[in-house]
């Protein structure tokens, strides 16, 4: 079989890339290893948030649900703190329960992040510039960002420069004194990261989040019908543009100008675009002799430690959380991790190959399914392995939530536990890292996945990357797919393919 573009992996980034390329008139084929497309995105609670530009470009018919609540944070003494979406006044009232001082700081905190977010936002949808030979376009783009940076004013300019490398625990303590609020904000910096809030560089997550939707906290936007409906919409759009999607079609090897499927079938393509993570792409799918040993060495050093396990509970009814009187408060994310030290201790365990006995939990409830991201669950356990300890960890998670919702255990109809090992084996995420590689400073922007290879191109002529292992990284944003598609299309146009 022959086509213009073959896309490896039908995750949401692969599908977005397929949409753009097919829409541009290229014969595009998506090959998905699993039975369904988009299974990785289905693990997420919310759209990361998905780029509105992509929704417009592709004319996606998505009904976005923007719950009033962004995050509800629970504390051990039965108190709770509700942070609302786009409603600073209501949030300030909530914070006043804890501290008048913090309530006063909160509006400026929101404003500052939203201003900085607006400046950073254009970076997300641009191809990171080449450091060696920046093109005229690169210089133009960066110049625009530079001007926007100037527009921030000295105070915010310096904030941005300071916050990048800072420990998120320090950042939040500069703004707030309430431990629960500190921990809730700080959590965004360590989500999916092999780091505790005291680790330097964890503030970066807050800046990226702000760039995406103007707020430092994780988004709670979802789609009617859930993530499955979202993925289906993307797949339908791809098909409507003329792309073909094949499931249960595992690519075994990437060769020059073609991919070889597990069943031996070969598909020739002028461009091969991989949405698999960089380690999988280069260390599993490409024959090492095709790559420069130096590049291989750097790729082996690309860090993708898994730290999150996902527990899904099917419930017979909504559990009763202590101190929570309205269902509406449960409509966003639910945060369990009441203190900075709690989060840090949860991380401590994972450094020594143990899972947290009191994990940090990020929860979303949708239609009686409670989906929990539990951290820290290190990919490599010191004792035993995930196949023997899966249920033990799930019990820890359920016990932890029961602490806040005592009737939970009676309501569980069914539970599914996805460990970091499962994430690797079933979902193809190398090391079980949900972001296709740690999002630290040295693996971000023009360094993602590697310095010199951040333009979605690779050392192999017709091979491109379009997954979360490229700029701007993980989360259900669709941006890596869209950015990569733009570069692939550019090379087609230039006659390079």
């Amino acid at each position: 079989m022959k086509c213009d573009v073959v896309i490896i992996g039908g995750g949401h980034n692969g599908l977005v890339a397929a949409c753009y390329l097919a829409k541009g008139g290229l014969k595009t084929l998506v090959l998905e290893r699993r039975e369904n497309v988009g299974s990785g995105a289905e693990l997420d609670h919310a759209l990361g948030p998905f780029s509105s530009q992509i929704i417009t470009d592709l004319n996606l018919r998505l009904e976005l649900l923007n719950p009033k609540v962004r995050v509800l944070a629970l504390s051990d003494d039965g108190q709770s703190l509700c942070i609302y979406n786009n409603d600073v006044d209501a949030t300030v009232k909530e914070i006043e329960k804890f501290s008048l001082k913090d309530a006063k700081s909160y509006p400026e905190f929101v404003e500052s992040f939203s201003r900085i977010g607006r400046v950073l936002a254009p970076l997300l949808s641009m191809t990171p510039p080449s450091i060696d030979k920046p093109s005229k376009g690169d210089v133009w783009q960066l110049g625009k960002v530079g001007l926007a940076f100037r527009g921030l004013g000295k105070k915010d300019e310096y904030r941005l420069l300071r916050w990048g490398p800072m420990a998120v625990a320090d950042l939040v303590s500069e703004w707030f004194e309430t431990e629960l609020l500190r921990a809730t904000v700080a959590a965004r910096g360590i989500h999916g990261a092999f780091a505790g809030p005291w680790s330097a560089g964890t503030s970066l997550g807050l800046l990226w989040q702000a760039a995406m939707d103007g707020s430092a906290l994780a988004s709670s936007v979802s789609v009617r019908g859930g993530m499955r409906a979202f993925v289906q919409t993307l797949a339908d759009a791809a098909k409507s543009f003329g792309a073909e999607i094949r499931t249960s079609a595992e690519v075994e090897r990437i060769e020059s100008g073609k991919v070889v499927l597990r069943n031996g079938e070969e598909v020739e393509a002028r461009a091969i675009v991989s949405s698999a993570d960089p380690r999988t792409t280069f260390l599993k799918l490409v024959d090492p002799v095709e790559l420069d040993p130096n590049f291989l060495l750097k790729m082996r050093n690309y860090r993708a430690p898994g730290v999150v396990a996902i527990v899904k509970l099917r419930l017979s009814a909504l559990p009763a959380f202590r101190g929570i009187d309205s269902e509406e408060k449960l409509s966003g994310r639910i945060h369990i991790g009441p203190e900075i030290d709690y989060l840090e201790r949860a991380f401590d365990a994972s450094k020594y190959g143990e899972f947290s006995r009191e994990p940090y939990l990020d929860i979303a409830i949708d239609d009686k399914v409670m989906s929990i991201h539990a951290q820290f669950a290190p990919y490599k356990l010191k004792e035993g392995d995930w196949n023997t300890r899966r249920e033990e960890f799930a019990d820890v998670v359920v016990d932890r939530i029961s602490h806040y919702a005592s009737n939970l255990k009676d309501l569980i109809v069914d539970r599914q536990v996805i460990t970091p090992l499962d994430l690797e084996q079933s979902y193809g995420l190398s090391g079980g890292n949900i972001h296709h590689g740690e999002q630290t400073l040295d693996q971000s922007f023009t360094f993602r996945p590697l310095i010199g290879w951040a333009q979605y191109r690779t050392p192999l002529q017709s091979l491109y990357l379009c997954g979360a292992g490229t700029h701007p990284g993980g989360g259900v944003t669709g941006l890596p797919g869209a950015n990569a598609a733009r570069e692939v299309a550019r090379d087609f146009k230039a006659g390079k393919l």
């Binding site: 450091i131 060696d132 100037r150 000295k154 105070k155 300019e157 310096y158 420069l161 300071r162 916050w163 990048g164 490398p165 800072m166 420990a167 320090d170 500069e174 780091a195 005291w198 680790s199 330097a200 560089g201 130096n294 750097k298 050093n301 860090r303 030290d341 840090e344 401590d348 450094k351 020594y352 630290t440 400073l441 040295d442 360094f447 590697l450 310095i451 010199g452």
Partner: protein, 529 residues
Amino acid sequence: MTQKYDVVVIGGGHNGLVNAAYLARAGKKVLVLERRHVLGGAAVTEEVFPGFKFSVCSYVVSLLRPEIIRELDLPRHGLEILPLDGTFTPMPNGDYLWRVNDHARTRREIARHSRLDAEAYDEYGKAMIEMAHFVKPIMSMTPPDPTTLDPKGWKNLAFLGRRFQRLSDDDKYNQVQLMTMSAVDFLDQWFETDVLKATMSASGIIGTFLGVRSPGTAYVLLHHYMGEIDGAFRSWGFARGGTGAISNAIADAAREAGVEIRTEAPIAEILLKNGRATGVALANGEEIRANVISSSVDPRLTFMKMIGEQHLPDDFCTDLKRYKYRGSSGKVNLALDGLPDFKSLPGAGAHLRGAISISPGVEYMERAYDEAKYGRFSRRPYIDMVIPSLTDPSVAPPGKHVMSCFVQYAPYNLKEGNWDEKRDEFGDAVVNTIAEHAPNIKELIRDRQVLTPLDLEREFGLSEGNIFQGELTLEQLFFLRPAPGWAQYRTPIKGLYMCGSATHPGGGIMGAPGRNAALQLIKDWKKSV
């Protein structure tokens, strides 16, 4: 009021003295005021116990800028650096790792642990030297202000950008990693031997409240390759007569250039008139006038104590309050009747002449940090020991020895109790930890001095006991040190400059802040005339 000076330098530590020397050489009339009875600040030698002289705080030299040694002609003023040969790390399993300055021997030693690592060690050394060359000129420049609208400021930023651009691909990759990664993550890419990684990564945490796995700690690995002593790249050393001898040599050079130095002259206040610094008032009430005040003490003392918030812009005060000190280390100085005998390598061999590092594994280091995070000192800390009396017999009576132990972690803020109650317990923890490797140590101790972060604050004027006058973390380096917008050694108070470790490029016996500040001040002086 007596006489008027061009510049009064607050603090007679090594940076204050360097600053004064350079200013005097440029023809300024300079007075240095030191609170204590001895010069040197944290680079000081004191006879703590009769006959036993200790480099009380700072204990090794590596980063003293060669241009300072040259320009101030320090060897002529008595500076003599004796080599510190290698690092010996005893391990609990009875083995050890002993790296020396002889590259071939170190390579053989590492090969004993891992052949792969021995090969990587060559490559690593080469790569690091390249990086050190890149970073070197940055140490002696005044940091640019990235928010400036002045085209000259842009030129400095562009200079940095172009320099980076000219690096080879591999060097760029290494440089980015070094600036942002954790020491352990960085070393994991090169080596597999746990004890090697632990010992090397230790340099990344010294003086910072971070663990070896925290991003930002890799950068300090470079410092080991920047140490230049008499031109020899990457060697460490002792000063003959202890660290205080360095300060004394600088003071001598400064006096020769015409600097006046007064000890036991604590300052109560920096005098202001119409928002401009005009002089200082001593604790005894004496007032000394000067055109410019150059402060080598940390920003908390300079601004909060000697000036007062009410005279400073609000934003600047906020930034100063956010500047992080949080001392994380202590010092234990031992007067010994003999030499410690290590289980893993018995006898008084050459391994005792270098640094002895208690850093047997990455997990050990990390657990030491974990305790400190929650407000306790490490029960089994990371310890870096030296026995200078083996190389320089002048510091101890015949047959006796002094041993200096740098200890981390010891958080300034304890969750339970206070340092005055916990001092001895802390000292015991250190001795017990050493005794695990050298059991005879307990019988050898004649006297011991335990310096907690609180003692460092009280005795040496280091706020919260931070040995670098503020943490060396990325958000407090270069154009952010000590406060955003004020990294050019100037301050919001006209006529007041900073020249201590709290300015770029930071702490350690480097002298660079003092020299950079002096050069900046001289430049500004010319403009204002």
